[in-house]
Symmetry: C2
Subunit: 312 residues, 2 copies
């Protein structure tokens, strides 16, 4: 890459996933939200990753990340086992069930942002304990944009800490069920307004294969899910989406409403690669020309070539 306008810090989980899919059972798959986000974003800009792995984590996985342009110097190697999640997906991949969660070294994860990372201008806070998200924000120096994710577990159990996080976040990226739970409102337009009143000026609500909605001061924006012929594994799609967002914005050094809208197409494209392979397999092999093709497909999907006017 010729130049890097802005630097990206990604903090979150690195894991092993055991995936029981309709297409088979896949054990010891490279996983974790920060992993997916980093791989997706790294197609657009260099990434600094902060996370923790156990002594069972193959160096080859870290090497694969570095090969994509992910700086793994911030990935701590702790004594013990790596975070492991086991899940089973339904036949149509529309729902999943957690069979087992072993936090292992992730239970004691206290993100330490290396000195060289503290001036990162774009920060993506993966779905970790809101207190840890707050702690990360005390360690970084005036980032241009803070993006955060969260989940049902923190919404119900750590409402107070999460409320503090929301005050410090520019862009919240969550799914529709999380938006409903967080706001206490079923309707997503109202839910978005309620959540924005608590801090984040911008919120993106992800709806899986149906796409994602952005609500900001300019209005509402929508990007569809890319219509794929074959979906193998939705794991990490939302994290890849968030990675695509931060990667695009940082690579352009632009967090304007227009850039955020364009970023959503990169995000959706990267999420679409993610679901085409088991784990991050397809995401890891995606090249810029693949992304270019998918972006062209998206352009075709939304360009209506003219104005919307009445005949008379």
């Amino acid at each position: 890459m010729k130049s890097v306008k802005d630097t990206v810090l990604v903090v979150g989980s690195v894991a092993f996933d055991d995936l029981e899919m309709p297409s088979g059972v896949f054990n010891d798959v490279l996983g974790g939200a920060a992993t997916y986000s980093s791989i997706a974003a790294s197609l657009l800009t260099p990434i600094r990753l902060v996370g923790v792995v156990g002594d069972d984590f193959p160096e080859a996985h870290l090497e694969a990340l570095r090969h994509r342009g992910v700086d793994t110097a911030g990935v701590e190697r702790a004594k013990g086992k790596t975070f492991r999640w086991r899940g089973r997906y339904s036949e149509d991949l529309m729902s999943r069930e957690t069979l087992d969660t072993q936090l292992n070294v992730f239970a004691d994860f206290r993100p330490k942002i290396p000195a060289a990372y503290r001036a990162s201008s774009f920060v993506l806070l993966g779905n970790i304990h809101p207190k840890l998200q707050l702690d990360v924000l005390t360690q970084v120096e005036r980032p241009k944009l803070v993006i955060a994710d969260t989940m049902n577990f923190w919404i119900s159990g750590e409402a107070k800490a999460l409320a503090e996080v929301l005050k410090k976040v520019d862009l919240l990226v969550i799914n529709d069920e999380e938006a409903r739970q967080l706001s206490g409102v079923h309707n997503l337009v109202k839910a978005a307004r309620e959540i924005r009143a608590r801090g984040p000026k911008q919120i993106i609500i992800k709806r899986g294969e149906y796409g994602a909605l952005l609500f900001d001061d300019v209005g509402t924006f929508f990007v569809p899910g890319y219509p794929l012929e074959e979906v193998l594994d939705p794991t990490g799609a939302g994290d890849s989406f968030a990675g695509g967002l931060v990667g695009y914005l940082a690579s352009h050094g632009d967090a304007s409403p227009g850039a955020l809208r364009r970023a959503m197409f990169f995000a959706a494209s990267l999420a679409s690669f993610c679901v085409e392979g088991i784990g991050p397999r397809r995401l890891l092999t995606a090249q810029r020309q693949d992304l270019r093709q998918r972006l062209d497909g998206f352009s075709q999907m939304v360009d209506y070539g003219g104005t919307l006017h009445f005949a008379d």
Copy 2:
């Protein structure tokens, strides 16, 4: 309206609906697929409606349709009761259960296209028996575009007649479950390809609040559902969508791929009015300036203001 380039014929059901909604029970609501399609389309162009009602059907309902620019001369008044459907919606309006269906005069409906309607250049075949759809097509003279809907009942019970319909239809407009059932394929990209191989060059797959996907020779196009703060009643939304399509295309005298893409925004806008009121209440009061506003909202939702390019 200054000029009418093309004429529209809508054939299908006119009914009474009894609606058990989370917001209350509403009896004797004006309903029927052709009713919704006609009302929606009539905001864009004059409509010729062919259907049947019983002697219990208030003249005031027909007058309301005429007031919107719907020619009701093709609505036959038969001895007996009007078609009646009773349904109950779930709390989140995402599913519904049919409690009762009384076909009444609709059971013997044999569409007779008045001589004055036979040269209609745009034909919308509502969800009626495929044999009746075929019969309508023998009565019209070389229409420019034939749009058709169908449903699970005909897909499973009248496969042969439906296959004949598909050969004569230019644009099929069905929902995702119908597309899966008709094709026997779960994946919608594959389902669309399979169905297009059977006749209709163009297919639009409706996904309710999530939007609609068009597949044609140019590629794939997507229009989102309009994000509303309040949804009262989804009844007729899909029919309003189909009405918006045919109304736009006929008013512009243009059935090109570009026009079809723009038509989808008009269709989605009219569907969004439909769900804002019980029955066709909101749809009946919607004015062109309301539609203009919603179209502007749609433009804002999809216009990303530039090209999708890499930073370097």
